[in-house]
Symmetry: C2
Subunit: 263 residues, 2 copies
């Protein structure tokens, strides 16, 4: 089982778009996937058209430190896909101060994932658990990074995103030195890349220069289809299979699964 936090404190870099579409394509590749939405904005939940049933979902899991079966729901638009979601909703924000004030408040998700429910309708175990993080630092990204084996970092090819990358890598180093000694960087994904924009190319080159081997070869191109898909509550693979967005995320899926396949 691989547990991967999709993290970047910078806003709007494509965390949710990456989490939701990777979850979909990794499941399409035959893996059992659980997508956990730990953002009170619940964008991942809504873009996969997941029904919310408060307080079940990530709220309940963090509250109790243990997952009730009602907190995991199947991706119902395609019943053949082994894709499940732990949904979020706005009320998750109410847990923020409570968990921030508790000594082990950042370890709730870790504890919850150690004992996933064995129930009809829910996979008894998963091949991949992907966790979609909110932006900013705080108790929700902490929970994700403490529960995860690795961090997948989407990054936009713009200046603030590059500045933010060092800050994020520092945070991961801190976590490595304290609550999660075995965490590693799964990889860095360049997102929203527009080949016509010279500035994107310059920043991409800069990122590759500093973080070379961590960067995936695959680049996610800017494609309005990816934004349109969210307004239809569909993953890109079901919204527009011929789009550049689909191609980018399929390519990334292949690269991620390839790194995990024994040679």
């Amino acid at each position: 089982m691989k547990t991967i936090a999709i993290a970047n404190q910078k806003g709007g870099v494509g965390k949710t778009t990456t989490a939701a579409n990777l979850a979909y394509f990794i499941a399409l590749a035959g893996q059992r996937v659980l997508l956990i939405d730990i953002d009170p904005q619940a964008n991942a939940t809504s873009c996969l058209n997941i029904a919310v049933n408060p307080p079940f979902g990530t709220y309940q899991a963090l509250m109790d430190g243990q997952v009730r079966p009602e907190s995991i729901t199947g991706y119902n638009s395609n019943a053949n896909l082994k894709l499940w979601v732990m949904p979020s909703y706005q009320g998750l924000a109410n847990l923020q101060n409570k968990l921030a004030g508790e000594p082990a408040g950042g370890l709730r998700l870790k504890s919850a994932l150690e004992n996933l429910p064995k129930t009809k309708g829910v996979a008894s175990s998963y091949d991949y658990i992907l966790i979609d993080c909110p932006p900013s630092s705080g108790v929700f990204p902490d929970n994700a990074l403490n529960a995860a084996q690795s961090a997948l970092i989407p990054i936009q090819c713009e200046y603030f995103a590059m500045e933010g990358l060092s800050q994020l890598l520092n945070l991961i180093e801190q976590i490595k030195g304290s609550t999660n000694p075995s965490i590693f960087i799964e990889g860095i994904i360049l997102t929203m890349y527009n080949a016509d924009v010279q500035f994107n190319k310059e920043v991409a080159d800069e990122i590759r220069k500093h973080f070379g081997q961590l960067c995936y070869k695959t680049v996610i191109y800017r494609d309005v289809a990816l934004a349109e898909a969210t307004s239809h509550a569909l993953p890109i693979g079901e919204y527009d299979i011929t789009s550049i967005g689909t191609m980018s995320y399929v390519e990334l899926t292949r690269e991620i699964l390839g790194r995990h396949t024994p040679k």
Copy 2:
């Protein structure tokens, strides 16, 4: 004195780009402006090339509930401009849990602004105080919204942003009903608008339909010069005066100042 929080919990919608460039152009129009950076990512601080002097800046102001003169620094690239900045830095993140745990932790900035220092080099009072908020909900946006008279909401013309708008308006209603009864919406700014993208137009129309009179007529067009400027630590007006980005923000400045001018 007008105190305006530039807020949206959705990431990457142009809060910082708007805060920094409005601060610059409002000062260029002859007003005395203080820009407060309350985001640990400190993007507003870096894109105006402001020197950081930890722990002074927003960290010190929130820690003490009172502003020391060393915590406000002049925008030095243009000494004629009456523009000051209260800088942020990564260490601000360390205050998050502390303030979240205190009963009046969300009111620190409000208290600090009630008694600004009267010191050589710092304006004895300001015409405009703009506060650049981080994304997500939490103790920093709370501090900004409790201290502000009004909220300026940049919003990208994409689906998640529109969903997030209702969530944000709810938050502001809650604050209005509790800690800041006189807060109002300054206005909604459509950002990163690409006239060639049909989807942007559809979402823009939808937003105007629901929030008509709150929306500024001015739209901020997508212009890579705005992103390039940040990598040179320059406001758009000093990076490329002929750019569409400059034109958009000058137009917005005129519209904002116009609303504040007695007829």
